[in-house]
Symmetry: none
Subunit: 242 residues, 2 copies
């Protein structure tokens, strides 16, 4: 696959953006690096003249932006997603720095759509949002002042994606086709239900069980066939329970 | 020399900047990457409230900015300077891309002050300005839309300087204590028994089920606590089966 078709598979997802100027700045940043697919999850203000002004000549990116109501909808159909985060969190997946993350993401782009997800300007990503993504990514910043503007963060990641895609992407380890977002979420739903049916999991007293299991299975980057096996085991056990 | 003292030797020089907002954005971009020395050659408007607003928490960079009347003055005392340019020019020195240029510049920073020079937003660097610098630098952009915002260009070069000057710590994986061999084998035995009990797995016709599951969980490098959770789920489901 050539560089342009890999970059065409990259969605830039901005969740709950407060300032429309940052949406325009992100569109411009993307286009300078050859990215074009912008997805907005519940933006506070969009469309907006402020966004259009800041986009400069990249209004086509804004015109084609998709606006959706949830991060799940934004990630539907992707095979891999990376989430920018400014800090380390409890129970999170292993992180990568921006440079190596771009190489990882470009490898998955050879297999299907991928997403780079950016949280709100002030509060960043919620833990729930982060749990939907495969890879937390940090941009190495000054420890005493890490206040990257949102469009600047999009600029750095878009630049790194362009750099990574202009080299031969490193093939991700493992042989099988990666499971898509929807398949993996389907598995988590099934697992949770089986745990409830068996009495192991009480949603009223969740003990961080689902975040822990998401962290476990998130690390493994499940393949399609593996999701099938795991759900087969769960179904067989559930049939016995009934 | 450590990273901080190398970065302290980097001047960011903006010549003939039109929009004070870009000066503020550049200051913020610099500070996020640990750069602090801003030099302004004949800015159209400075100081400016617009610059201060865009600088966010990086007003100290603006407060210490030097304003000078010529690029010669800005470069006085440096041992090396690199100039951003959006296009190749006739009769110019051999150029480098941003990534390799940052490595070159950081090498000279070990010997003395260095400069990254950025031209006017619309017209870029003049040929006369470029002739004062040692190295023309290009950021690899989309050939059809190379309109990088000035602050975005400063962001990318500052990021590359930080990357070139630092040995990044190995990304921590936030892992808990790893499960030992016996714990993991205990889990596989438990899983196999549960699959047999439920009728999903027939040891007489194994369909490579266990090798597939070992490949899956082998990739994840299970932690002690995770083995406990997984076995807890299996036990709960088995109790219902009995």
């Amino acid at each position: 696959m050539n560089e342009a078709s890999l970059l065409d598979r990259v969605r830039v997802v901005l969740t709950r953006t407060s300032h429309p100027g940052n949406i325009g700045g992100a569109a411009r940043a993307m286009k300078t690096m050859g990215l074009s697919r912008l997805v907005l999850v519940n933006p506070q203000v969009f469309p907006s003249d402020v966004a259009t002004a800041r986009a400069s000549g990249a209004t086509d990116v804004l015109d084609h932006a998709q606006v959706v109501g949830s991060l799940e909808a934004a990630l539907s159909g992707t095979v891999f997603s990376a989430a920018m985060t400014a800090r380390r969190r409890e129970l999170s997946l292993p992180m990568q720095w921006s440079r190596e993350a771009a190489v990882t993401v470009s490898g998955y782009a050879a297999q299907g759509d991928v997403a780079l997800v950016f949280g709100n300007e002030t509060s960043g990503m919620t833990n729930e949002e982060l749990a939907l993504c495969h890879l937390p990514v940090m941009i190495p910043t000054n420890a005493e002042y890490s206040s990257l503007n949102l469009a600047a963060a999009v600029q750095i990641l878009s630049y790194e994606m362009r750099m990574a895609c202009s080299e031969l992407p490193v093939a991700p380890d493992g042989a099988g086709a990666p499971a898509g977002f929807d398949e993996i979420e389907g598995f988590y739903g099934h697992l949770e239900q089986a745990m409830i049916d068996s009495g192991f999991h009480d949603p009223a007293n969740p003990r961080k069980l689902m975040p822990r299991l998401r962290r476990l299975f998130g690390r493994v980057r499940l393949e399609k066939e593996e999701v099938g096996i795991l759900r087969g085991i769960l179904s067989a056990l559930q049939r016995k329970v009934d």
